[in-house]
Amino acid sequence: MENNIYIPDLARITRIETVTPLEKIFDISFIEKEAQKKFNFMPGQFVELTVFGVGEAPFSITSNPNNKDKFQLCIRAVGSVSKATHVLKEGARVGIRGPFGKGTFPYKEAKGHNVLAIAGGLGLAPLMSFLTYVMDFRDQYKNLMIIYGAVNPTNILYKNEIAYWNSRDDVSVCVTVDNPDDKWTGEIGVCTKLIPRVDFKPDDTYTIVCGPPVMYKYVVVELEKKNFKEDKIFLSLERRMECGVGKCNHCHIGDKLACVDGPVFSLWDVRNLKEAI
């Protein structure tokens, strides 16, 4: 193949699951076996997906990196490309470039420590890649706690996985919603309210956070009240990544680029990049 960084590899959507009124999960496999074989990603990385004729947009990979024959994206229909994906049928062909991003979730560094995962809304999707990895090697990590906030019960993503985590005694899960319905018996309110309950030792805990831009400031305040360390808190930052390879500059945050240097940054980095959160 030619050496053009803008040429995507062809891939096929093998399965589509409608998970909420807004989101669908897509299983994707490359058409060329070689492309599938060289597609090795780390939790936190993203791809640029082309819907031919519509455009290209960045999406976090949500599946387990140990799964080598396909990968997954969870897509909310909000922009032109994401809306176009929701019209696609199983078997449709798309273009994939990536995986991109040097800044990944600390799946290696966190081994031997507690893990706290905090997700808001669609922010759970990028964390799934990390969390499924941790579950594969569960005995290599200490305590695992997942805090997840959704707008309402129908918008809760990954219900099967949450039920599975709940069934295990080595994972603690707290799900909270802003707007409960009549049947809801769980927590109510934003996910930051649950952080004070975490009783992990700050020095021994890796925290990963993903959610809408507005969420980070409030989460960070709560984590700092508990003395969690800046270099052990990791945030996945969203920006407008047009090219994915550090050329188009749309995702600059201070002196860095979210697509190349991120999209996951430690809180230490975030503090020293201006206007990151």
Partner: protein, 343 residues
């Protein structure tokens, strides 16, 4: 570096031969006030004595305002291919700070990953630079970019009856051997060259004090009042980016033909000064105000690449100062940063 001399009487013939044998691009007078780098077929059209900067920077030859990155055909299979231009071109009459602008883009588009659409053109471009007196808004001396050490094949300096020629590449030397009558530069020629360069460096009127800027910039970065004042008149029009020889931001979009079978992935210049620049799906804008955007542009021009490449991306050509409808002046703003911190 190899140094040669070409007599003025031989210069016209040299350039005329290049014009007839190559796709030759050089500065041409467009109207009373402006010059532009365009294709030239006749020596008389070439005007290297332009007083202001050319309206569009030479980057457009390597990085056009709109270009096709890849094309695809949707059928039984989807066929994707690159579209590369394959013509040898000569860019003539570009000044030192603009050569440095090109060198910046060369480095930028090859950092980590090679941008093939850019380099497919760059490999086939011969750059022949020429020294000229600084225009009123040029502050490249302050940015350390008034002199081009490399990034050209030939660089000419006018010594009245002859040109002093710095030969930057084998390709440049080949052109001289084939098309020009030259002699090796001697002591007298170097003396003349030094005299020119001294006068040239003394001719810069606009100065920007960049000492300590790297740290001072961070000190004022969060000062909302300061940036409100600086960006007060900004129209968020993006002119500064369009004329900048080192601005490289672009959008990528798909463009289908009407038969819906063939499509192109194209890129077009974008500007960080335009409100939509930081907008993501879901209507969140990461740079909602003009102050946000202007200070981020300045960061990119006078800070970010000091870290990444060891020298700033701004070459001080002064085009943005000429182009700005609101008379925003980056050199004066650099000076204001220091003043603000020193008060």
């Amino acid at each position: 570096m190899l140094y040669k001399v070409i007599k003025k009487v031989d210069y016209k013939e040299f350039v005329s031969k290049l014009i007839s044998d190559f796709e030759f691009i050089g500065p041409v007078k467009k109207d009373i006030a402006t010059h532009d780098f365009v294709r030239i077929n006749d020596f008389s059209k070439l005007d290297i004595n332009y007083k202001r900067t050319t309206i569009a920077p030479a980057k457009k030859i390597l990085f056009p305002s709109t270009e096709v990155l890849i094309q695809y055909e949707i059928g039984e299979d989807i066929k994707i291919s690159s579209v590369y231009e394959a013509k040898e071109k000569i860019l003539f009459g570009i000044d030192a700070c603009d050569v440095n602008g090109l060198s910046f883009l060369d480095r930028f588009f090859s950092e980590d990953l090679i941008d093939e659409p850019y380099f497919s053109r760059r490999r086939k471009l011969t750059v022949i630079g020429i020294d000229r007196m600084p225009s009123k808004t040029n502050f490249s001396l302050s940015m350390g970019k008034e002199y081009a050490k490399d990034g050209f094949d030939l660089f000419l300096t006018d010594l009245k009856d002859r040109y002093f020629v710095r030969v930057g590449s084998e390709k440049g030397n080949g052109l001289l051997s084939k098309y020009a009558i030259t002699s090796a530069a001697g002591d007298e020629d170097f003396k003349g060259y030094n005299k020119f360069m001294d006068t040239y460096r003394k001719s810069f009127k606009l100065k920007a004090d960049v000492a300590n800027l790297y740290d001072n910039f961070e000190q004022v970065y969060d000062d909302a009042q300061f940036w409100k004042k600086i960006a007060k008149d900004c129209y968020s029009c993006g002119s500064c980016c369009l004329v900048c020889p080192t601005c490289f931001c672009f959008n990528v979009k798909d463009d289908m033909e009407l038969n819906l079978k063939k499509g192109n992935k194209i890129r077009e210049w974008d500007s960080c000064m335009i409100p939509e620049y930081g907008l993501v799906a879901g209507s969140h804008n990461f740079r909602p105000t003009k102050e946000n955007r202007l200070k981020q542009r300045y960061r990119c021009k006078i800070k970010t690449f000091a870290d990444r490449f060891g020298s700033n991306s701004c070459v001080g050509c002064g085009r943005c100062i000429e182009a700005c409808l609101a008379k925003i002046n980056i050199a004066e703003d650099i000076n204001s940063v220091k003043k603000e911190v020193s008060v």
